[in-house]
């Protein structure tokens, strides 16, 4: 579980995060959503320790990040898996080497043990026969799978994903979302996903934190988000024509139902 308490972060004169408090629970897919510039990426990078908050604390299962020594922070980072927006695979390494990298760096496993574990996770993300290919030789969807495999190979306690569906077609996006959710349950990880993809929100948003101008505007589940009356959420969720039509249809159904009940 990750607990965030009153996080504030500024760059120069501009305050990006204006006191955010929330909890990301273990075994659940926690989503951070919001418009571009709302502070999602800064919040994610602050959780990862890439940015240091000006005020507030972040606790990883009770361990307050700012109170940890440098070595303890590095130790904690070995418990973190991260899927970057652009996958961030190492160009000079094959798929197998990319996935096996955390094991080679942080464990004393033998070569054959590493190969077995790599094959196991690659199979888990439904990626076979790609071990010896370089990132440039595989598709964007496959790169995302490799990135997920690399993130989970060392059994992390926390998984962070920065817009995992960015640049993927709708079908592959759903597959990646489902894969992340399944893995979260299997490994009982605390997964935090930064996204503005409404399909993901509805599909896997077990906990959703909505940011607006650096403030937590709303939090709830994927079921609650469809029923909320919060104006900012309604504007955000129903900003696309598709969702507008879905909403109109839902409202029309509800009206019909009401009429039938009255009759």
């Amino acid at each position: 579980m990750i607990e965030v308490k009153d996080i504030k972060k500024s760059f120069g004169d501009s305050q990006i995060l204006k006191g955010i408090s929330t909890t990301f629970e273990a075994g659940k897919t926690n989503l951070i959503i919001g418009r571009s510039g709302s502070g999602k990426t800064v919040l994610l990078k602050t959780l990862l320790g890439i940015h240091t908050p000006d005020e507030g604390t972040i606790s990883f299962n009770g361990r307050v990040y700012s109170e940890l020594s440098k070595d303890e922070k590095r130790e904690l980072r070995t418990e973190i898996g991260m899927v970057f927006q652009g996958s961030a695979l190492f160009d000079s390494m094959t798929v197998e080497e990319n996935v096996g990298f955390p094991l080679k760096m942080f464990t004393n496993k033998k070569k054959n043990e590493i190969r077995d574990r790599v094959n196991e996770v690659l199979e888990r993300v439904n990626l076979v026969d790609a071990n010896n290919k370089y990132p440039s030789e595989i598709s964007g969807g496959m790169q995302k799978r490799v990135a997920i495999a690399r993130a989970i190979v060392n059994n992390p306690k926390y998984l962070f994903c920065d817009e995992p569906n960015s640049g993927l077609d709708p079908e592959t996006s759903i597959l990646i979302d489902v894969l992340i959710q399944e893995i979260t349950k299997e490994y009982n990880m605390t997964t935090v996903i930064n996204t503005h993809d409404m399909n993901s929100v509805l599909q896997i948003g077990e906990k959703i934190v909505f940011l607006k101008n650096g403030i937590k505007e709303w939090e709830g589940t994927n079921e609650e988000i469809l029923e909320t009356k919060n104006k900012s959420i309604v504007e955000f969720v129903y900003s696309s024509d598709l969702f507008k039509k879905v909403r109109e249809s839902l409202l029309a159904d509800a009206e019909d139902e009401e009429k039938e009940n009255k009759a």
């Binding site: 320790g49 440098k70 130790e75 980072r77 652009g86 961030a88 190492f90 160009d91």
Partner: protein, 248 residues
């Protein structure tokens, strides 16, 4: 502007300190060092050999063509070639070329890793990215004196070939000239400079790649800026070291 430069210099020295913190696992580091030796040292031998051989030849021809006074012995051709090659051409001129070849490679490869979040990925995993990326380059470039030794040999060989086969001097005269007033400390001086340049070649381009911001266009800009600053620092260090080591 001065404050900006001072900030950058301070940042550079903090980076140097950070390179030696939290070392990468030795079994992994070995592979990285071997790869860097291949990329930075072995990969540069061809161009260094080619340039050294022909510049050595040109220095010999230029000296011979300017020796119009019959009282000046022909042995001066070899003497001038040796001094030019050992004192300046091999250590300094080749380092400027290496700033272009190796320096741009280092800046663009690290810069691309920055742009594509590969450095962030290393940091998030708990890897000291500066140690992982820069330390193997520093170790690999500790073999740079061998490149310069080869450059010295080929430069003088080029001078010999141009002089003897171009009928500018005889083989005996050239070899006599090579041995005239030879000061062994000049070799030591050249290699001290080489070691300093090796550290500059590994760290300044790394600094520009590691701290760059932006996209693909900025990677290109960073490579150019890196080449300029590496060359400037090499030339400045050349002056300082020459003043310290030879003029006392």
């Amino acid at each position: 502007m001065i404050i900006r430069y001072l900030t950058q210099i301070g940042r550079y020295f903090i980076m140097l300190k950070e390179i030696f913190n939290k070392p990468t696992k030795w079994s992994y580091m070995k592979q990285l060092i071997l790869k860097e030796i291949d990329d930075l040292i072995i990969g540069s031998l061809g161009i260094v050999s080619f340039i050294s051989f022909f510049i050595g030849g040109v220095v010999a021809i230029q000296t011979a063509l300017n020796l119009t006074n019959p009282l000046i012995p022909k042995t001066l051709i070899a003497f001038a070639t040796r001094q030019s090659v050992i004192l300046e051409f091999a250590p300094t001129f080749i380092s400027i070329i290496m700033a272009g070849k190796v320096g741009s490679f280092i800046t663009s490869s690290i810069g691309t890793m920055r742009v594509t979040e590969q450095i962030d990925a290393l940091e998030v995993m708990g890897v000291n990215s500066l140690n992982y990326l820069v330390f193997p380059k520093i170790v690999a470039l500790m073999l740079y004196p061998f490149v310069i030794a080869l450059s010295m040999f080929l430069g003088i060989l080029g001078g010999y070939m141009a002089s003897v086969y171009g009928n500018l001097t005889s083989s005996d005269e050239f070899i006599t000239g090579l041995q005239t007033e030879f000061i062994p400390f000049h070799i030591v001086y050249a290699f001290i400079k080489t070691i300093v340049y090796a550290i500059i070649l590994a760290t300044i381009p790394s600094f520009h790649g590691y701290y760059m911001k932006g996209g693909a266009l900025e990677v290109g800009k960073a490579s150019t800026v890196s080449f300029v600053w590496t060359s400037v620092v090499v030339i400045l260090m050349n002056y300082i070291l020459t003043q310290l080591l030879l003029s006392s």
